[in-house]
């Protein structure tokens, strides 16, 4: 057996000034050429583990470090990140801070020049990595001109330029649309299979990458809770960590099927073998089959009132392209809409027009009341040292943050930060705050008039609210949005996450190049797509418009004489 490329031996690490250990007695080995997934909810130590693997912890961050990390035979206690960097490339969550020079070519050259390569080798290395990642057309572009997806690819290129034996990636797809995310995972697979690059990938959306992984390590409170093959991980997650289950695994568990599928292909093969795969007729009727429960409730709520109306809205840049091209969109009170599309399709611009941050160059926007807009990064709202100074007591109460008024906003978890930002932008006033709290705690709720409650925004718009969130926090946010819609607020969410869209929206709008190219009930749009489809829909081929595991399981139970668990 070959020597491990990366080895952790009883590693315990505490950040400076923090008593709780970010990593506790972590031990594992990674062989050359392995593709290992790092799973776990937010704040369980995934990022810290990656930072320890490249020597940033403790050399850069400080803190207390015990145990031993060895990379390619080098002990990280004796060799800093610069030395270890000869063997490891790292790509962290925010591509904005991964790009350190002004042009793409300089970015890709930097690592090779820093390692003292000859100019000819630098030029060749840059060309090769650019071709491998399909970013050769970007070489002479300025880094600050790139889209989020392009930045992520360039940052990955910079991490790979030195041909490292190990690549560490921390949520690299969190800012990418489904197409770009799949491309990135495919690229990692190619690197792994063709160059034998060892991959250690931390990711929340496991369904994206479980099929390409050899192994999954799951972290819980800084400790390794499970380390095994992907199918063994799914079995473990079903019993011990349901929040880590993939939608496909959850679908099978709810339908009483076994074993949990690692990917769509395996799931469909199992269903076909058991005669449970919905037939072509069912598949074909996806567009006309009503989705279970939810669609009927939407129809009941239909009113003539309009919360937001966009008519022929154009956004044309001076000396630049048109970002929106004649968008027509109507939102009714109580409606929840998922706005989807690739990076750069115009989703964020559309939401800014809805909220009045931008004025259309042509067309008009009519609003029934205020439009609260939650921008992509919740941290941008926090300008005080205390949570209590950021929002009113009633809003904090409504958001369930009343116990945290003395804490610093930057110390909150991802989910808490999102709730605080929501409390800031969508402050509803005292009465509404009390009502929301009643809903959260399951207490009695005052009866509501039709339409949005007094003082509450008529429309709540959210721009990519789930970036970097784990499944559990996403589910809580989806519930909160459903509650708000039930109270009469119109909700529109720009998202790349089909699972989240299915969990919180009745209707989906697909944007491409500034135009609305599809607009309809979520079960129709998210069940029939290739990229913009949930895993459940892909497994069931869009049958019955089932998007979520619960809906899919119900469909499967009704489809056949269920003779299930082995």
């Amino acid at each position: 057996m070959s020597a491990p490329l990366l080895s952790f031996e009883h590693v315990t690490y505490r950040y400076p000034g923090v008593e709780a250990a970010a990593l506790s007695d972590v031990s594992f080995e990674l062989a050359p050429g392995e593709f290992c997934l790092l799973a776990g909810l937010s704040g369980q130590g995934k990022s810290t583990l990656l930072r320890a693997a490249c020597g940033l912890a403790p050399h850069f961050h400080g803190g207390r470090f015990a145990g031993r990390v060895t990379l390619a035979g080098l002990d990280s206690r004796e060799n800093g990140p610069a030395r270890l960097g000869a063997f490891v490339g790292a790509l962290f969550q925010d591509p904005e801070t991964q790009l350190v020079t002004s042009s793409v070519r300089a970015e890709l050259s930097l690592v090779l020049e820093s390692r003292g390569h000859e100019p000819a080798a630098v030029a060749r290395g840059v060309e090769e990595v650019a071709l491998a990642l399909g970013i050769d057309a970007l070489l002479d572009r300025a880094t600050y001109d790139l889209s989020g997806g392009e930045k992520q690819r360039v940052a990955l290129g910079a991490a790979l330029a030195g041909r490292p034996a190990l690549v560490l990636l921390d949520e690299p797809t969190s800012q990418l649309d489904p197409v770009a995310g799949d491309e990135l995972i495919g690229l990692l697979r190619r690197l792994n299979q063709e160059w034998e690059t060892t991959i250690l990938l931390a990711e929340h959306r496991l369904e994206r990458c479980l099929t390409v992984a050899d192994r999954v390590i799951s972290l819980e409170r800084g400790r390794i809770a499970h380390d095994g093959l992907p199918d063994a991980f799914l079995e473990w997650a079903a019993g011990r960590a349901p929040a880590l289950q993939t939608p496909g695994a959850k679908l099978f568990a709810l339908a009483g099927l076994h074993p949990a599928p690692v990917g769509v292909r395996q799931a469909r093969a199992t269903l076909r073998f058991r005669g449970l795969l919905p037939s072509g007729d069912v598949l074909g009727s996806a567009a006309t089959t009503p989705a279970p429960k939810r669609r009927a409730s939407v129809r009941r709520r239909r009113r003539r009132a309009t919360a937001l109306r966009m008519r022929g809205v154009w956004h044309e840049l001076r000396d630049g392209p048109a970002i929106l091209r004649g968008v027509d969109l109507v939102l009714e009170p109580g409606e929840s809409v998922a706005l989807m599309g690739r990076n750069g399709a115009g989703k964020s611009t559309l939401l800014r027009h809805a909220a009045g941050l931008l004025e259309p160059t042509r067309g008009r926007v009519d609003r029934a009341g205020t439009v609260a807009l939650l921008l992509q990064n919740p941290g941008d709202y926090f300008i005080h040292e205390r949570v209590g100074d950021e929002a009113s007591p009633a809003s904090l109460l409504a958001a369930g943050l009343q116990q945290m008024v003395e804490r610093n906003p930057s110390d909150l978890s991802g989910g808490e930060r999102q709730r605080l930002a929501l409390a800031i932008v969508a402050a509803d006033g005292e009465a509404d705050g009390a009502r929301a709290n009643g809903a959260r705690t399951g207490g009695p709720q005052p009866s509501l008039p039709a339409g949005a409650p007094t003082g509450a925004p008529a429309v709540l718009a959210l721009d990519e609210p789930t970036r970097g969130m784990d499944r559990q926090v996403k589910a809580e946010l989806a519930d909160e949005l459903r509650r708000r819609a039930a109270r009469g607020q119109a909700v529109i969410v720009a998202t790349h996450d089909p699972e989240f869209a299915a969990a919180c929206a009745d209707r989906a709008v697909l944007l491409a190049e500034g135009r609305v190219i599809a607009d309809g009930p979520a079960p129709e749009l998210l069940a029939g797509g290739w990229y913009f489809a949930t895993e459940t829909a892909r497994i069931l081929g869009g049958a019955g418009g089932a998007l979520l595991p619960e809906q899919g399981a119900e469909l499967l139970r009704g489809l056949a004489p269920v003779e299930v668990a082995l």
Binding site: F60, T97, S102, S114, A142, Y144, L375
Partner: protein
């Protein structure tokens, strides 16, 4: 004033290697510092505006010109009020106590305008350099000379657009708060604190990235032998010519100018030739547009 960033455009100046581009802008700066003759300075200003237009950054330079005006006007006003050396009085403000007699002179106005013109020219040259000379290539040169300065320079150069983007995002987030968010001095101080705090975090992240990329491991970056392009040669000759003309004008008397006690501003054949020569030397390399595509 908005921040100006380098972007590779199709122009002879952008196609020139960074070292030569920087030398060319330094030669223009030297001319602006050495020469006082208003006609020659106006010719230099025209040359810079023409160069910016030829480099495709005329729009940005117009924005910089507006900012320069904000600096230039107070220079003229202060000089008019503070200078006591001119003889041609055009207004008397009477006894100003400890400041003496408040006599405003034509010479003080002219000298103030000349100084303001020089400052404006230097601001425009700096803007042109930041828009058309690749900062990464300059840092690469600097890295061969001083590693630590280059590291600081890299961080600073990268932090400028990051900070600008962060500030814009934070300001936009505050606009989405109900009632427009915090107002007044307290609100601005809080916002500034958040931007500065965030910039420190950003700087740490960028520094961590540099660390992992091994920026510290190669103290002396290898020199890349690169053949001189027609634009490298053109702008190098232009820089040398600008510097020679500036020295000639300064030492030979062709650009002589005295503001005090009375204005002495002879405009002869030599002055006109110097003005034309400087303009010609600065703009000539822009005439060759072969091989300029990024």
């Amino acid at each position: 004033m908005g921040l100006f960033f380098y972007r590779r455009l199709a122009s002879p100046l952008h196609a020139t290697r960074a070292g030569v581009g920087a030398a060319w802008t330094l030669a223009l700066t030297a001319a602006a510092v050495l020469l006082y003759q208003p006609l020659v300075l106006l010719a230099l200003l025209a040359a810079i505006v023409g160069a910016a237009a030829a480099a495709g950054v005329g729009h940005e330079l117009r924005r910089a010109l507006r900012t320069a005006t904000i600096v230039a006007v107070p220079i003229v006003l202060v000089n008019v009020l503070a200078s006591r050396q001119g003889l041609t009085v055009f207004a008397r403000l009477g006894d100003l106590g400890p400041f003496g007699q408040g006599d405003l002179t034509v010479e003080a106005v002219v000298y103030g305008v000349v100084i303001a013109l020089k400052v404006t020219i230097v601001i425009l040259i700096a803007t042109l350099a930041s828009l058309a000379v690749d900062p990464d290539a300059l840092l690469r040169i600097l890295r061969r000379l001083s590693f630590r300065s280059a590291l600081t320079g890299s961080l600073a150069v990268r932090m400028i657009p990051l900070l600008a983007a962060d500030s814009a995002r934070l300001a936009e987030a505050q606009r989405t708060r109900p009632h427009g968010g915090l107002e007044g001095v307290r609100g601005r101080v809080a916002l500034l604190g958040a931007i500065l705090g965030g910039s420190l975090d950003r700087a740490m992240d960028v520094a961590a990235t540099l660390e992992v990329r091994g920026f510290a491991t190669a103290p002396r970056a290898p020199r890349a032998p690169r053949p001189w392009s027609r634009h490298d040669i053109g702008f190098a000759i232009s820089a040398a010519a600008i510097l020679a003309l500036a020295l000639l004008g300064r030492l030979g008397g062709a650009a002589s100018f005295e503001a005090y006690p009375l204005i002495h501003m002879p405009i002869g054949g030599g002055t006109v030739a110097l003005a034309v020569g400087l303009t010609f030397a600065a703009l000539l390399p822009f005439g060759d547009r072969r091989g300029i595509d990024p």
